[in-house]
C-alpha cells in the first residue's frame, strides 16, 4: 500500500482512522488505501471540486455580524471519518436510551415532579433553571415526548472511550450538512462506495416527516406540517429550507401564521387560511410566542402557546424542552436513566463538577488550569474557559464569575479529543473532531447512521463550532465483512 503522508498526532491522542502504530483501523482500510493510491495532487483537486460544489450548491451558514454578504461556506474536508458498524450499534442504543430518559425527566418535571419528591434531582437546580417554563406546567404532549429531535455531541478521549458531551434538545442543527456531505462524497468518490459497505444516511428526512406526522392532533393521513424558521438571517436557514423541501412541508415564518379565537393555528396562503397540525419549530422558546414569552419577539406567533396547550397543534420540540438542555441537568442524566428506565447508562457522561456544590466548586477553583469551564445555558461554544490554554487573567475572571453565580457554571476535565487525518494544503494533518448524531422520538425512536462530524480546522484547536472556525467531514459507518 502506498504510504499516506500523515504525521500521527502526538501525546497519545486517539486517531479515528489510524492506530498508534500508524496502521489503518479496519473500518478505514479501504479509504486510506484508496487515498494513498490517488496521491496528494489528486486529493487536492477533489478538495477543490468539493469546495466549488459547496459554493454552487449554496450550502452555507449565515454569520450575523456580516452585513451585505451573509453567506459563508462551511469548510468541508474530503477525508471521511470512519467508524465500524459494530461500535456504532452500541452508541446508537446508548443514544436512544438517553433521549428516552431525558423525555421521562421533562414530562415528569412539568407534571408530577416525582423525581424531586424522591430526592433524585435537587429542587434548587430546577428553581435556578433559566429554561424551565412555568407556562408549560400540566401540559401533555403526544406520547409524553417533549424532545422529539435531539442532537447529542459525542467526543472520544485518548483511551478510546466515547462520551456524551452535551444533549442539544432545543433546536439542534447540522443534520442538513450531514446529508449534503454525503451527497458531495458520493459525487467525489463514487469508486470508494463500491469498495466497502458504507451505510446510507439519506432516510433522515423521511423519518423526520413520519415522526412529525405522528404528532398530529387531527386524524387523517396527511397532516399539514410547517417548519417555523426565524428567516433568512438565521444561521441555520439553509437547513430549515432544506428540511422543509425534503419533507414536503411548508417553510413558514412567524408572520405566515395566524391563531384564531378558537386557538387554532392557520397559515396564510394564496387560497386563504389553512389550518396547521404540526409545527417543527426552529425558533427558541423565548421568541416563540410574544403573548407568553418575550413580548418584543417579531419572529414568533402570538397565541401559539394557547393553541399548543389546548392541543390543537403539536410543536416539536415542545416548548419548555430546554429545561433539560442545561449543563447542570446534564450531570444528572445517568441518574435519570437509572431512575426512570431502571437501567445502567450505555454511554458515559464526561465527569462533571457542579460549581453549585461546595466541594466541587473548591476543586474547580483550585484546578482552573486543568479544567474546561462552561456556562450552563450557552451553546455554540460561547462563554467557555479552556483552562490549560487560558491566560491567568482569563482564569481570574472566570473564578469571579463562578463565585458570583455558581449555579450557572460547570467544569469538566480537558479531554484530549480524538483526531482524524484532514487535508491541509496538499498533505494530511491530524485535526480534532466530535460527532453529532441526531435522535428522533415520538411513538418510536430513530438514530441517524453516524451523524455530523465537526472538525476544528486550526491545528491543535478543540473548538469545532461552525461559528468559530470549525468545518465538517462526512461520517462513514462501515459494515465490515462478517
Amino acid at each position: 500500500m502506498p504510504k499516506i503522508l500523515y504525521e500521527y498526532p502526538e501525546n497519545g491522542v486517539y486517531d479515528e482512522l489510524l492506530t498508534p502504530g500508524g496502521e489503518p483501523r479496519p473500518a478505514a482500510r479501504a479509504v486510506l488505501s484508496h487515498f494513498g493510491q490517488l496521491g496528494p495532487e489528486a486529493l487536492r483537486q477533489r478538495q477543490d471540486t468539493a469546495d466549488a460544489a459547496i459554493r454552487a450548491m449554496g450550502i452555507t451558514f449565515t454569520v450575523y455580524s456580516e452585513a451585505g454578504n451573509i453567506d459563508r461556506s462551511w469548510p468541508f474536508d474530503i477525508v471521511p471519518r470512519t467508524m465500524s458498524a459494530r461500535e456504532w450499534a452500541r452508541i446508537d442504543a446508548g443514544l436512544r436510551q438517553r433521549l428516552q430518559a431525558l423525555n421521562c425527566f421533562i414530562d415528569d418535571i412539568y407534571n408530577e415532579q416525582r423525581i424531586l419528591a424522591d430526592g433524585i434531582f435537587p429542587r434548587e437546580i430546577l428553581e435556578g433553571s433559566r429554561n424551565f417554563r412555568s407556562a408549560c406546567r400540566g401540559t401533555h404532549p403526544p406520547f409524553a415526548v417533549w424532545a422529539n429531535i435531539c442532537g447529542s455531541d459525542l467526543v472520544r478521549d485518548a483511551d478510546g472511550t466515547v462520551y456524551v458531551l452535551e444533549d442539544n434538545l432545543r433546536v439542534p442543527s447540522g443534520v442538513s450538512y450531514m446529508l449534503e456531505n454525503r451527497e458531495i462524497m458520493k459525487r467525489l468518490f463514487p469508486e470508494i462506495f463500491a469498495l466497502c459497505s458504507i451505510l446510507p444516511v439519506d432516510d433522515y428526512p423521511a423519518q423526520l416527516a413520519n415522526m412529525l406526522a405522528e404528532l398530529s392532533p387531527r386524524s387523517g393521513d396527511r397532516p399539514v406540517i410547517a417548519v417555523l424558521t426565524p428567516g433568512i438571517y438565521n444561521s441555520a436557514y439553509f437547513e430549515h429550507s432544506y428540511l422543509a423541501q425534503q419533507m414536503g412541508a411548508y417553510l413558514a415564518e412567524g408572520s405566515d401564521f395566524f391563531v384564531d379565537n378558537n386557538d387554532r393555528v392557520f397559515l396564510r396562503t394564496i387560497s386563504g387560511l389553512l389550518q396547521v397540525d404540526v409545527i417543527y419549530r426552529r425558533v427558541d422558546d423565548d421568541f416563540l410566542d410574544p403573548e407568553v414569552f418575550r413580548e418584543d419577539s417579531v419572529i414568533g406567533v402570538p397565541g401559539l402557546m394557547r393553541a399548543w396547550k389546548r392541543g390543537t397543534v403539536a410543536i416539536a420540540n415542545a416548548p419548555g424542552t430546554g429545561v433539560a438542555d442545561d449543563k447542570v441537568v446534564y450531570a444528572f442524566v445517568p441518574d435519570f436513566i437509572r431512575y426512570y428506565l431502571d437501567a445502567e447508562p450505555i454511554l458515559p457522561n464526561v465527569p462533571t463538577y457542579l460549581c453549585m456544590r461546595e466541594d466541587d466548586r473548591a476543586y474547580v477553583l483550585a484546578h482552573l488550569n486543568e479544567l474546561v469551564v462552561k456556562p450552563a445555558n450557552e451553546s455554540g461554544g460561547y462563554g467557555m474557559l479552556i483552562g490549560p490554554r487560558a491566560s491567568a487573567e482569563e482564569r481570574q475572571r472566570f473564578a469571579e464569575r463562578i463565585a458570583e453565580d455558581p449555579r450557572n457554571y460547570i467544569a469538566q476535565p480537558t479531554l484530549a479529543l480524538s483526531t482524524a487525518p484532514t487535508l491541509i494544503g496538499d498533505h494530511l494533518e491530524p485535526r480534532h473532531l466530535d460527532l453529532r448524531p441526531f435522535i428522533l422520538q415520538a411513538r418510536e425512536n430513530y438514530v441517524t447512521t453516524g451523524g455530523l462530524t465537526r472538525v476544528a480546522m486550526h491545528a491543535g484547536s478543540l473548538v469545532v463550532n461552525s461559528s468559530q472556525g470549525g468545518g465538517s467531514k462526512d461520517t462513514w459507518i462501515i459494515e465490515e465483512d462478517a
Binding site: R55, A56, M57, G58, R218, G220, R222, P223, V224, G231, I232, Y237, S241, Y242, A244, Q245, G248, A249, Y250, L251, A252, E253, S255, D256, F258, D260, R264, F266, L267, R268, T269, I270, S271, G272, L273, L274, Q275
Partner: protein, 330 residues
C-alpha cells in the same frame, strides 16, 4: 402556497426580468452609438428616464455621462433598480422558496449573482464598452438559462404561475416605458436625421426588446416607427409585446384560486389596448395612452397583491383538504 412565498416568487421574477431588460437596453444603446455619425451627441440619459431613476442618479452623480450612468444602472447597490440590486434581490428572494423550484435553479441563480459580483469587481464594466457588452450578454444568457430551466423542468403549478405573472408584468411595464421614452425622444419623422440613422434608432429599440428579427419576419424589413410601436404593443405573436404579456398573465391567473379581481383588471387593460387607434396617434396622445397603460399595469399589480399576498384574517378558513398539503410542493 404561502402568501409570502407567492409574493417572493412574483418579485424574484420581476427582478430577473428587470435585470435582463436593463442589460438588453444598455447593450442596444451602446451598439446604436456605434452606428451614429462620429460626433453625434448621444443622450445616454434616455436610459435613466426608462428606469425612472433620473432623480436618484442626479442626487448621487450630478451631470449624466456614459460612465457614471453605466455605473449607476449596472453596479450601484444604492440604486434599487440597478442590475446588481435586481440580481441580488432575486437571489435573496429565492432563498425563501428554493425548496419549491428545481434544485438546479438555486445553483444557477446563485452562480448568476456570483458572476455579476465578480464581474463588477474585476472588470471596468462601466467604462469599457467591449467588456460591458460581453458582460451583459453573459448576464442575459444566464437569465435565459434560468427561464429555460423553469419552462422545461418545473410543473405548471401555482409557484410557476406567480413567476409567470411577475415576469410578464415587469416585461409589459418595461416595454411600455421604453416605447414611451423612445417615442418622445425620436422625432416623428426624419427631420434633421439621415434616413439610415433614423432606421438605426428603431432597430436599436426593437433589438433592445429582443423583437427585431420577429418584426422583420412579421412586418417587414423597413422599420417604420408607427408599425414598430404597434408591433411592440399589440402583436399577438411576438412574446415581447405588451399584448402577449397580458395574454400570458391571463393564462397564469386561470390556474390560480380567487382570480376574479385581478382577471378583471387584466381584461380592462387589454380592452383599452385593443380599442386604441394607433395609426392616427400623435406623439402627445401616444404618450398619454402609454401613461394609461402604466397606470393599468399598476392597478393590475395591486389587485394581484390584494388577492394573493395579503391573506385576510376575516376570510373563513377552508376545510382540511387532502389536496392542499400538496400545495406545499406545488
Amino acid at each position: 402556497m404561502l402568501s409570502r412565498v407567492a409574493e417572493n416568487l412574483y418579485w424574484m421574477a420581476r427582478y430577473l426580468e428587470r435585470a435582463e431588460d436593463m442589460g438588453r437596453f444598455i447593450n442596444s444603446a451602446t451598439l446604436l452609438l456605434l452606428d451614429l455619425p462620429l460626433g453625434t451627441q448621444f443622450g445616454w440619459d434616455i436610459l435613466l428616464q426608462v428606469t425612472g431613476e433620473a432623480e436618484r442618479f442626479q442626487q448621487f452623480y450630478g451631470q449624466p455621462a456614459e460612465k457614471s450612468i453605466m455605473r449607476f444602472l449596472i453596479a450601484d447597490s444604492r440604486n434599487p433598480s440597478s442590475l446588481l440590486s435586481c440580481v441580488h434581490q432575486a437571489r435573496e428572494n429565492c432563498r425563501t422558496f428554493r425548496h419549491l423550484l428545481p434544485g438546479e435553479f438555486w445553483e444557477r441563480i446563485n452562480s448568476l449573482f456570483l458572476f455579476v459580483q465578480d464581474g463588477l469587481e474585476k472588470g471596468d464594466i462601466a467604462g469599457d464598452r467591449r467588456a460591458r457588452l460581453e458582460f451583459l450578454e453573459q448576464v442575459i444568457a444566464r437569465r435565459h438559462a434560468l427561464v429555460g430551466l423553469l419552462v422545461s423542468s418545473m410543473s405548471q403549478n401555482a409557484a410557476y404561475q406567480f413567476i409567470k405573472l411577475g415576469r410578464n408584468l415587469e416585461r409589459a411595464d418595461m416595454g411600455s416605458r421604453i416605447i414611451d421614452v423612445v417615442s418622445a425622444v425620436i422625432p416623428p419623422d426624419d427631420q434633421g436625421l439621415r434616413k439610415t440613422v433614423y432606421q438605426s434608432l428603431w432597430v436599436a429599440v426593437l433589438r433592445g426588446m429582443s423583437a427585431l428579427e420577429m418584426y422583420r419576419q412579421h412586418v417587414g424589413v423597413q422599420i417604420q416607427p408607427g408599425r414598430a410601436v404597434e408591433f411592440l404593443l399589440r402583436d399577438s405573436k411576438c412574446p415581447r409585446s405588451v399584448r402577449s404579456c397580458l395574454a400570458d398573465m391571463e393564462i397564469g391567473l386561470a390556474y390560480l384560486p380567487n382570480a376574479g379581481i385581478p382577471a378583471d383588471a387584466l381584461r380592462r387593460t387589454r380592452r383599452r389596448l385593443d380599442l386604441l387607434q394607433l395609426k392616427s396617434l400623435s406623439p402627445a396622445v401616444l404618450h398619454e395612452y402609454l401613461d394609461q397603460v402604466q397606470k393599468d399595469l399598476g392597478m393590475l399589480h395591486r389587485s394581484i397583491e390584494n388577492a394573493y399576498f395579503r391573506a385576510h384574517e376575516d376570510q373563513s378558513p377552508y376545510p382540511h383538504p387532502i389536496s392542499h398539503r400538496i400545495a406545499a410542493q406545488a
